[in-house]
């Protein structure tokens, strides 16, 4: 590695020699003259023992932790004069231990409500909360939700302003939707997930395989300045996750577990058998004399349990934590479930007088999913699930029985009926996901103030999807088997250096990083039909009688991302702090002339309370003003090779009596493709008042995204294709985010804390057109028509749009104006100028109006209580002002659907005889307030052999206050079907009994 390697080696040996010398000098001294300091650390609030507080001795690599009774004992050289006692959430204290005797000290630590000294991860380093200049939110386990938690992000759902986490439906195999400060690209992407310093390629995969009980903290980097350190992939914000680490001292064994029962939280009121018979009069032909509530028939009480065992410990030179967990979650729909097994090991080793620090992390997981019929991916249920199963189930008429008297499935006299229960039990649809990741990071202190290091991580994911659908004897349904195998192989590595120096009141901290990422994806799938022996499932696919070449696709692709970045932090007297970032990012997805982009950012913080004129204001404990501006680049949603002219197989053709494969150009190349840029401006304030009893954060941001990457329409002729991936559209996102925490009551016996957060979000596409090779780029036709009403008779029924001047997916629908005498719908009609001209039985595009469904604000409100050994938590969250298109209610909303399909109770009185059209009649207020979590816990103290035991009872989603009459107003807010409620897996209500145990 040329010159720098030599420099590096020289320093290394020099440092090594110096260390060895020091060691030689110290060792005899240390072993000869020691003293032992013992003591107890207590919490200022209740006077109770504080477990896990760390006791360190400056300049000597020794330290320990308090046990469950708050006691510690530490041997140290006689020369030591002070020890530092610190604990997360508490102000640190330096206590004198001068003298040559063994000492016993009592330390009371003050709880810091503002958490100013809390360590916050900032990417390639840590900072203290008081020194942060960007918009970063830190969250630790004591703030987490409890309940049926199988995904770590459920723990902070609704807790962080600006981080909108949506769980559409209650499918255990559904991805949750995570958006930080709105969508960057038109489609939007989740934030970048960085686990223990390793950026992860696949957000949904990695979040599922992360065990909630292993989480030490979350740090949410919101603005461009904070996210800049992960810039090439951080345009959607960054979530930094730290997993639990071992601490020096006694080996600790901890166990976290719960058992839970979940049920469907709400059903749609559809006709029961008696109502159906009454409504249909003499439709006896379809009456199979059953009496079935199909919503109940497909439901079950989902029993879940989760167990995590962690072992941690170590010495000052090496500590470790290993954990293994097992979670099984049954869905509330029969034959759906998820099983997750994870193992994680973190080892941290220090050597060479603490100059060399090495971290190892190994993480392996297996996920086994039992999916809904025809649901092949976890993202499918975000878009309404596979094959509209729930729509079919709801519409199945209640007079069809589930079983024949002999216990076999009822299929009708001609075997043509497949009930929802039959489908759930007879289709085999499952997925296995294996994930392995190994990471190592090494840092060496070359000389005082300068640390350099390298890290590397390799991860492999492998998903196997299995499907089998048996032939139905006597019908035209042949058996179909499928298997798909997808592999991901990611390598990421970096070289980093950090320099820190203090010159009087001037503090300088400089970080430089080189990052290299390589992603390789490959896979194949097979689908064939005509199997005679259903017992073989898809395990012997060669027995097929029918295979199409197009049903055995395979693929492989590769992308690379390389970045150079620098960050400088200047801190003047803890009063003024400036952070500047510059990064140069390269992506293989762009052509040679546009691979690299430069993305600078700067942020400034002023700790106003440190200024002389505020020093005397007693009630103001802290006030910090922040401002930041920065650019981040984005390319996450792009296909691997969009800029290139590529040839590949097209469709087959007939030539000379043979079917052959044709080849040709597969995409419109765009050599000018470049980075999408998000310019983000953030103004923020952090404050803490009244003796730290109230603290909070306010952020206002205004982001502009330019050159948005999307598949745009291209005029044809002259171009070969009518779409091209290009940079064109612009959008703005703006918002106010407020978070306030208050300690309402704090005394020895009883504490009551509240925290409240609220965030607005205004998104708007400002422009959707551009130029490509001199021609016009636009979104037209299908690309412009975004969301569609679903169901039979609704094909091509577009109801939302991508439109400049509005948020992506704005509804564009006709206005309902009642029914005429014959029961036909009437609509408002407008002229070309948008003037109301009257009402009639028909509508055209001219009569459609725009309605933005996005909420005015989202909020969360947490109350936590402590009373003696009891603790309690009540957490509400809600969304205000969102609109939902009630597709399910619409497609079951007319009596005309009887007798063949079931309808809602409302359809009997609503007056709709004919198929309802997708008008604003079905656009409903989706505001809601949810009691997300109610938890009561009890700490058993002083049990022999157990240092801490907490048992808790928790209820999830206990009630929802909403005007919305569909199943639940929490539905997908991304993708083309955003805010359209159709075919969702039912939402659940859960009760949990859990234990946290430390030996």
């Amino acid at each position: 590695m040329g010159t720098s390697l030599i420099v590096f080696q020289k320093k290394y040996f020099k440092a090594l020699a110096l260390d060895a010398l020091l060691l030689l000098c110290l060792l005899p001294f240390a072993s000869a003259q020691n003293k032992t300091v013992t003591g107890k650390v207590t919490d200022s609030r209740d006077g109770l023992a504080l477990r896990g507080a760390s006791i360190t001795v400056k300049k000597f690599s020794t330290g320990t932790e308090t046990d469950s009774n708050g006691n510690f004992s530490l041997t140290m050289p006689l020369a030591v004069k002070t020890v530092m006692i610190s604990a997360t959430g508490f102000s640190s204290r330096e206590i004198s231990v001068a003298g040559n005797n063994n000492t016993n000290i009592q330390a009371v630590l003050n709880f810091s409500y503002a958490m100013l000294n809390e360590v916050v991860l900032v990417g390639y380093g840590v900072s203290q909360r008081k020194d942060i200049t960007g918009a970063i939110t830190h969250a630790v386990p004591k703030e987490f939700n409890s309940g049926v938690i199988t995904n770590p992000l459920q723990q902070i759902q609704g807790k962080i302003a600006g981080l909108v986490i949506t769980q559409p439906g209650g499918d255990p195999n559904s991805d949750i939707i995570v958006r930080l400060r709105g969508a960057t690209s038109i489609e939007g992407q989740p934030p970048l997930l960085v686990i223990d310093g390793v950026a992860i390629d696949d957000f949904y995969k990695s979040i599922t395989t992360l065990n909630p009980a292993d989480i030490e903290s979350f740090d949410i980097l919101k603005d461009a300045s904070a996210a800049a350190i992960y810039g090439s992939r951080g345009a959607n914000g960054v979530i930094l996750v730290a997993t639990k680490k071992g601490k020096p001292g006694k080996t600790a064994i901890d166990y976290n577990g719960f058992v839970a029962a979940e049920t469907i939280s709400k059903e749609i009121k559809v006709l029961d058998a008696a109502q159906w018979r009454k409504a249909t009069g003499d439709s006896s032909a379809l009456d199979k004399h059953g009496n079935t509530d199909w919503q109940k028939a497909i439901a079950q009480t989902g029993i879940s349990h989760s167990h995590t065992m962690g072992i941690s410990g170590g010495s000052n030179e090496m500590n470790y934590r290993g954990s293994i967990s097992y979670t099984k979650q049954q869905g509330v729909i029969i034959n759906t479930s998820k099983e997750v097994i994870t193992a994680r090991l973190n080892v941290n080793q220090k050597s060479l007088q603490n100059k060399l620090e090495i971290n190892y992390g190994i993480n392996a997981s297996v996920v086994n999913r039992a999916l809904l019929p025809y649901q092949s991916s976890t993202s499918q249920s975000r878009n309404g699930g596979g094959d509209l199963f729930f729509s079919h189930a709801l519409a199945t008429i209640p007079v069809v029985p589930i079983y024949n008297p002999d216990g076999s499935f009822y299929q009708g006299s001609d075997l043509s009926i497949q009930t929802p229960v039959y489908t759930l039990k007879q289709k085999y649809s499952s997925k296995r996901e294996n994930f392995f990741q190994g990471a190592v990071k090494a840092d060496y202190e070359l000389f005082k103030g300068l640390k350099a290091g390298a890290s590397g991580a390799l991860s492999r994911g492998n998903d196997v999807y299995d499907f089998f659908s048996a032939a139905v004897p006597g019908t035209n349904q042949t058996s179909v088997a499928a298997k798909a195998n997808d592999n991901k192989q990611d390598f990421s590595g970096d070289l980093h250096a950090n320099f820190h120096k203090k010159y009087g009141k001037h503090n300088i901290d400089i970080t430089g990083v080189y990052e290299y990422n390589k992603f390789i994806n490959d896979g194949f799938s097979v689908l064939a039909s005509g199997y005679l022996i259903p017992e073989l499932l898809n395990n012997n696919m060669g027995a097929a009688t029918q295979v199409l070449a197009s049903n055995i696709p395979s693929y492989k692709n590769e992308t690379r991302l390389i970045s150079f970045l620098g960050r400088a932090v200047y801190n003047y007297n803890d009063q003024y702090i400036i952070t500047a970032n510059i990064r140069r990012d390269g992506s293989s997805k762009f052509g040679p002339n546009h691979s690299w982009g430069n993305f600078p950012s700067v942020s400034v913080a002023w700790r106003v309370n440190e200024a002389f004129f505020f020093k005397n204001i007693a009630w103001l404990n802290n006030l910090k003003l922040r401002v930041s501006y920065g650019l981040t680049g984005n390319q996450e949603n792009l296909a691997p090779y969009p800029y290139q002219l590529l040839y590949g197989p097209l469709t087959p053709y007939l030539y000379n009596g043979q079917f052959l494969q044709s080849y040709g150009i597969v995409q419109q190349d765009n050599p000018d493709l470049k980075w999408e840029v998000r310019k983000s401006f953030n103004l923020g304030a952090d404050f803490s008042i009244f003796n730290d009893r109230v603290n909070g954060t306010i952020d206002i941001f205004n982001d502009r995204t330019n050159d948005m990457l999307y598949q745009y329409n291209l005029s044809q002729p002259p171009f070969l294709f009518n779409t091209v991936t290009a940079n064109a559209a612009n959008a703005i996102n703006g918002s106010v985010e407020v978070a306030i925490n208050a300690s309402v009551i704090r005394n020895k016996k009883f504490q009551w804390n509240v925290s409240f957060n609220l965030a607005t979000l205004k998104s708007r596409i400002t422009n959707l057109s551009g130029k490509f090779e001199g021609a016009v780029l636009a979104l037209t036709g299908d690309e412009q028509h975004y969301g569609y009403a679903q169901g039979s008779g609704y094909s091509g029924a577009y109801i939302s749009q991508l439109k400049a001047g509005y948020a992506a997916g704005v509804f564009w629908i006709p206005q309902y104006a009642g029914l005429d005498a014959s029961g036909h719908e009437l609509y408002k009609n407008y002229d070309l100028n948008g003037k109301l001209t009257g009402i009639s039985n028909s509508y055209t595009d001219q009569d459609r109006i725009f309605i933005d469904p996005s909420p005015h604000f989202t909020w969360g409100f947490t109350n936590t209580f402590t009373l003696g050994n009891f603790d309690g938590n009540i957490f509400f969250r809600g969304v205000q002002g969102q609109k939902i298109f009630a597709n399910t209610l619409m497609s079951m909303g007319a009596v005309g659907y009887l007798p063949g399909s079931n309808v809602t109770e409302k359809a009997l009185t609503s007056g709709f005889n004919y198929q309802p059209q997708p008008t604003d009649y079905w656009l409903k207020d989706g505001s809601y307030t949810r009691l997300e979590n109610l938890t009561v816990g009890y700490h058993f103290k002083k049990i022999r052999g157990i240092s801490n035991l907490r048992l808790y009872l928790s209820g999830s989603n206990l009630f929802v206050i909403t005007k919305y009459d569909g199943i639940d107003p929490e539905i997908s807010t991304d993708g083309t079907q955003r805010y359209i409620d159709n075919n969702y897996y039912p939402k659940t209500r859960g009760f949990v009994l859990g234990a946290n145990l430390v030996f």
Binding site: V7, I562, D782
Partner: protein, 522 residues
């Protein structure tokens, strides 16, 4: 500090200077950046194939076919209660109330110009081959003739369209609208310039490809419509083009009419040009049986896929057919039966097929009096198409080839041209003559065409009987009259003639402001 700067700067400089640390080019695994191709006959065939494969998109039942048939009296897709109420799609086509936003317009436009632009791209690739292939000129001629067919369709449906024969990778070229007569002239010129270089062979090798005979058939179609396209009649040219095909001796009428529509219809000696389909080989996109058949019809025919119960024909249309006309078997009407024992119901007592929604006997009733059907028999309305032999496997996807030009069309075009040039007797001779062992009428078990029938209405009716559902009805009705007529159910007479041209799709005008909308649309 200084040491740090030296360390940092030298480190960064080193990384930047080492190529592998900044190398972003990645391997491409499942595509190739350069097609080293065009060396052998097979490779040339594979390289030329995309322009033919795209033709399959021209008869997609939801995207392109509706523009050819659903705006005529031949095919109707009525609303059936909850089903097929896709208002923006079917109703405007039947009632002639479509607007430039109709989604099928964009599909058809894209189909035509994807085809013609593929020709442009492949022509460029072919021209760049070194060494030059021996048959370069015939490859070029074949490609240009297929392109002429695409432009013929644009001419027929949209009329005034841009014409572009170059493949652009860059440059700020915007295509402008060319008036319909000029588009007509372009198509004519392209065919005539290339016709002599095309293959005269009629065999397995040229099946599904542009031969001289395809070119003559296309010319005949162009000339028979010359008045509509250019304002000038070209009857003599039409007769000559027809004769070139008729006198070639390559084609004859199949004695059995329905052999032209069997799954093995590639054996038909009547097909001049057909688009090959095969659901097993993945040549897909033809699914009339699924679009038209009732949900329960699979029980009648032992199919592995149900019908979607959409496309059908009305009583008024069926009345064009004499009861004895064998071509009336194009349709399924009346009571339906379970024909195959393996699909008999469990009781086995009756072969009558029941509609499983209403549990009433399934009886196809062609009488459609309202566009939005109601009542318990709404699923049974309309005559169903059984012209093409049903494919029992494939889930509704068909393996019959779809003929664009059959010899019967050449015969009827020639007769029409003769009639219009004033020679009624010659027209009758042409029409009633045997080609092979049968005439058009004799194989239909119908008496010869009479002088009383020999007028535009008579020819239009005969064309309906012969070519129903084959994609020519709109073209025929515009040329021979009655396209704008009132129809049962619920279609009133068009206020003017502007619906005889489809509008330029709204989306295309948004993308290319130089395009001009057709008269009557805005």
């Amino acid at each position: 500090m200084k040491r740090f700067i030296i360390f940092f700067v030298s480190g960064m400089f080193f990384l930047w200077s080492v190529n592998s640390c900044t190398k972003l080019r990645t391997n491409i695994y499942d595509r190739v950046p350069v097609l080293n191709f065009w060396r052998t006959t097979d490779e040339i065939a594979a390289g030329v194939a995309p322009v033919y494969a795209n033709l399959r998109n021209g008869i997609d039942m939801f995207q392109t076919y509706p523009l050819l048939e659903c705006s005529t009296d031949e095919v109707i897709v009525p609303v059936r209660g909850k089903d097929w109420d896709d208002r923006s799609m079917w109703e405007p086509l039947w009632k002639h109330t479509w607007t430039p936003a109709h989604s099928d317009l964009e599909f058809f436009w894209s189909y035509v110009y994807t085809g013609s632009s593929s020709v442009n791209a492949i022509l460029k690739a072919v021209n760049d081959i070194t060494p030059r292939p021996a048959n370069l000129f015939s490859i070029q001629a074949e490609l240009k003739t297929v392109r002429a067919y695409y432009y013929f369709q644009a001419l027929d449906l949209f009329g005034n369209v841009p014409v572009d024969t170059s493949y652009v990778l860059s440059g700020s070229k915007q295509d402008t609208t060319i008036e319909r007569p000029a588009v007509f002239a372009f198509v004519e010129k392209e065919i005539k310039n290339n016709i002599s270089l095309l293959s005269k062979e009629v065999n397995q090798k040229t099946y599904g490809r542009a031969t001289q005979w395809f070119a003559y058939a296309l010319l005949a179609k162009l000339y028979v419509n010359a008045k509509v396209y250019s304002g000038m009649t070209r009857w003599t040219d039409c007769i000559n083009a027809c004769d070139s095909v008729l006198l070639s001796g390559n084609y004859m009428l199949e004695p059995n009419f329905f052999d032209n529509f069997s799954i093995a219809n590639d054996k038909s000696r009547e097909n001049i040009f057909a688009i090959p389909f095969d659901h097993v080989a993945g040549l897909n996109g033809f699914w009339i049986q699924a679009a038209s058949l009732h949900y329960d019809s699979w029980k009648s025919f032992g199919l592995d896929g149900g019908g979607a119960n959409g496309f059908c024909s009305t009583k008024e249309y069926l009345d064009i057919f004499n009861q004895n006309d064998i071509r009336r078997n194009t349709f399924l009407v009346g009571q339906q039966y379970i024909n195959e024992n393996q699909y008999a119901n469990q009781s086995g007592s009756s072969d009558t097929l029941f509609d499983s929604d209403s549990n009433l006997p399934l009886f196809f009733d062609p009488e459609i009096n309202v566009f939005s059907l109601t009542g318990s028999k709404l699923d049974m309305k309309g005559a169903r198409c059984s012209k093409w032999e049903f494919n029992k496997t494939g889930g509704g996807l068909m393996s019959n080839d779809f003929a664009i030009f059959r010899l019967a069309d050449i015969i009827l075009m020639k007769a029409e041209a003769q009639l219009m040039s004033g020679d009624m007797n010659a027209a009758l001779v042409t029409l009633n003559k045997n080609y092979g062992s049968v005439s058009i009428r004799s194989r239909a078990h119908m008496p010869d065409f009479t002088s009383a029938e020999m007028n535009t209405d008579g020819l239009l009716a005969e064309r309906a009987r012969e070519f129903s559902w084959e994609g020519w009805r709109r073209n025929d009705m515009i040329r021979l009259g009655h396209f704008t007529d009132a129809r049962i159910p619920e279609k009133t007479k068009d206020p003017d003639d502007h619906f005889k041209l489809y509008p330029i799709p709204e989306a295309e005008i948004e993308k290319n402001p130089y395009l001009k909308q057709n008269p009557g649309y805005h």
